[in-house]
């Protein structure tokens, strides 16, 4: 008889049996020897950090938080969380002005959208890129996502009344990308949901999910924004009984998992009601709800790329199956591998080589796939793929919208 039989340690790293499969699946360790790899940076060094904090290695900043190590782990060790929490707890590196600019997607978006044509043109100029590279250490080879002239939220205001006409409603967490860079995706979502007979509402208040703040070390701010988002989500889910859907896999993953794991924000009461639009629609259609008619005059062949956080969520299935339901859309499923950009990571000069090195395999596979475009649920994967391959990249919801028969 032993006294410990039914107890599980809070120190999750103790479940590691050193099989090292996490390091095999780590996209960074494969291309950047400066990164110790998830096994060492996670469970191994966590044990050392518990001995003395001086074992914290700043090389942990090379972790892109893709969580592929966690997916690979047969022992259920939260390797990615261990590494991110160690960065939060021990890192002494202060974020730079560049990190501040990259992390504050809301602020930069609000400043840029009113002047979008000017900002976009300027950011594309060689001398500007040289200055960004030299002064801010944002790599000159990186192309910037374009800012939209006018936000999604301002467009939505004009639609709000029309949306109220639907008897069934969902709340939409649009995220910074839809709001500031690509309102078209939000418009596509509204169109698809409306075609399904569902109205789209925005949350009472929405801030950036905070993923870039977390990865750049602005934890207090991330926590504040997360609290605000969870309050808004709670209001929609609990008070109005409206599920929350999103189009960004990373925002969804951050709200569902990173909030409780990294920021200590309780969301258990609402977590299951926050999901990706593709999953929501897949389930709706599977249960016989909603009828859609698609156009027959257009035929496309697309390649689906599984973003890392989609892999972690285990939800790429829904996006892929949904695409397959569209007549005249042929879907090629690419190997699930990291594209290398990892949000703001790939923008940083010091990470550019790693970022492109990680994505190399994926880029080659895309070029060889003979497709019209790539489809993915993550906006930063889209930037990376569009910058690094000859293909255009779309969200599954946009493909859906394009293939819908115009009413």
């Amino acid at each position: 008889m032993n006294l410990q039989q039914h107890n599980v340690s809070e120190n999750n790293f103790e479940q590691c049996i050193k099989c090292t499969v996490c390091t095999v699946y780590c996209p960074v360790a494969a291309v950047n020897p400066a990164y110790p790899g998830p096994k060492q940076a996670g469970p191994d060094e966590e044990r050392l950090r518990l001995k003395k904090p001086y074992f914290y290695d700043e090389a942990l900043k090379y972790c892109i938080n893709c969580k592929r190590c966690e997916v690979a782990c047969p022992s259920n060790v939260k390797i990615g969380d261990i590494i991110q929490l160690a960065r939060i707890k021990y890192s002494k590196k202060k974020p730079t002005l560049r990190d501040f600019m990259l992390a504050n997607t809301d602020l930069m978006g609000s400043l840029s959208t009113p002047l979008a044509p000017l900002v976009n043109a300027t950011l594309g100029l060689k001398p500007v890129k040289a200055v960004l590279d030299g002064v801010l250490k944002i790599d000159h080879r990186r192309s910037f996502p374009k800012y939209a002239f006018g936000t999604f939220e301002s467009w939505y205001k004009k639609q709000a009344e029309k949306q109220l006409a639907f008897s069934q409603q969902v709340s939409y967490f649009h995220g910074c990308y839809v709001n500031y860079n690509y309102p078209q995706l939000g418009k596509d979502l509204v169109r698809v949901m409306n075609a399904l007979g569902i109205g789209v509402q925005l949350l009472r208040k929405e801030k950036c999910c905070g993923v870039a703040l977390i990865s750049n070390g602005f934890i207090d701010q991330a926590r504040k924004q997360a609290e605000l988002n969870v309050d808004s989500i709670r209001e929609a889910v609990v008070e109005k009984n409206r599920p929350v859907i999103a189009t960004s896999s990373t925002c969804t993953f951050t709200i569902r998992d990173e909030y409780p794991h990294l920021l200590g924000i309780a969301n258990a009461d609402v977590r299951d009601r926050v999901e990706l639009a593709t999953r929501y629609i897949y389930r709706l259609l599977s249960q016989g709800g909603g009828k859609l008619t698609f156009r027959k005059d257009k035929k496309i062949r697309v390649a689906y790329h599984t973003p890392c956080h989609m892999e972690k969520l285990g939800w790429s299935y829904y996006s892929i199956e949904l695409l397959k339901r569209i007549p005249n859309v042929e879907v090629v499923v690419l190997d699930s591998q990291c594209c290398g950009i990892a949000g703001t990571y790939g923008f940083k000069k010091e990470n550019y080589a790693t970022s492109q090195g990680i994505g190399q395999n994926l880029f080659q596979q895309i070029e060889a796939a003979g497709v019209d475009c790539v489809v993915t649920d993550c906006e930063t994967c889209k930037w990376q793929i569009e910058m690094s391959t000859s293909k255009h990249c779309e969200h599954p919801i946009s493909i859906f919208a394009q293939m819908l028969l115009c009413e």
Partner: protein, 538 residues
Amino acid sequence: MIESYDVIVIGGGATGAGVVRDCVRRGIRVLLIERFDISTGATGRNHGLLHSGARYAVTDAESAEECIKENMILRRIASHCVEETDGLFLSLPEDDLSFQSKFVEACRHAGIRADVIDPKEALLLEPSANPDIIGAVRVPDGAVDPFRLTASNIIDAKAHGAEVLTYHEVTGFIREQNRIVGVKVLEHKTKEVKSYYASIVVNAGGIWGHDIARMVGVTINMLPAKGALLIFGHRVNQMVLNRCRKPADADILVPGDTISLIGTTSSKVPFEEVDRMLVTSAEVDLLLREGEKLAPVLAQTRILRAYAGVRPLVASDDDPSGRSVSRGIVLLDHAVRDGLEGFITITGGKLMTYRLMAEWTTDLICRKLNVSAACTTAVEKLPGSREAVEEIGKKMISVPLAQRNSTIYRHGDLAEKLAENTVSEYSLVCECEEVSVGEVKYALNELDVHNLVDLRRRTRVGMGTCQGELCACRAAGLMSSMHKYCTKRAKEDLASFLNERWKGMAPIAWGDTLRESEYMSWVYRGVCGLEWSQKQEE
């Protein structure tokens, strides 16, 4: 050729190593003979507690005073083996709080600093402590690594000309009338028996000293008392935790390097069993049950292994627990006691007082040999403790961080030898404890390593959570490639090492430890084709 010395010391524990160092520093020609490896007996099988003496203050004032004096000396001379953590004596609701004032007074009387602190403050200092505590006293306890301490004494002794023979077993004595003049020694590797002569033979064999003395017809009434301990997978506490009550079972939790240790039990064992100490499930349960009272988190913490040592207590009465026996130093001049010249036994005492035991022994030797040199071991720093670790860190800046910090923690200023390592030598042999190829090479070249278990004692290879799963085969491969042994012997050693690791895991084989050992077994047997029976020794 006759091999002759002034002094032969039998036993490579901390005491034997200390005697050899003290002797050679006073100009005495000395040989150390050890049956297995250094620190294989009680030296390597205890808490690694740098006692402040507080534990003994109430019951044994003499031991307490010795402890605090040696404690302060070791901090100075063996800084790389010592971690100055301080300790807390906790009173739980079930404990008598009135013991606390008696305890504090006894500590102060013995010269041990003892500060009564508020339980809330104690919990801030040591968050793992039981939140129900009603009292706490802070004392200058610490952690000491007995392997490093012994190894460092040996390094210094050898540097001054001492000779050390490990895996050499004393099988008999050479006697001329009433005088011991030498020993007959069996070399384990070659099975050769050789004779070594000396004016004085010192018996520093710990509990085995009983049998050594018996070889010359001298009886020492020793009382083998088994003490079992559990090693937890990581460092749970940063300060030593004790119970503020009369010494009892499982009331000390020590942070030692990467892990924490709870102990001990105390039970009398027959002499026939001292070479086969197995931890029973009753002992494991007791250690856990009591340990949880000090730090409740132990109930959920992975246990790495269990082990037991034998205290070489010298019985003064018939106490069956072996606990009220004095922990005092016993130095026997058999010329006076038994009329046998040239033979001295040093026993009793404890790891904490090894240096003082060595000093007393060497003083006696000097009187017998008419040597006037004074003892310097209380002031001369041990190799590894002579330079500030910060300075060593600067010299090793190119070594990867975790590896650098681990190596310096283990070897102190001697880690500097690894500063010139090449990139391939940065490769890790042991990933849990950050032992590099370079560190293993250093140990193989300079630290009397004959097999994987010896290597473990010098470097912590195989002491981490994987218990040899990843490192053992790499280390065996390195030993083989450096011609320490042939491939066949490497395989035998590998099997033997893994079996030795399993021995410590068996008593606590459940949960993740069991899962990991199954995985290890699959890797070695299934993938590498190693057979456990490749080991037929012991």
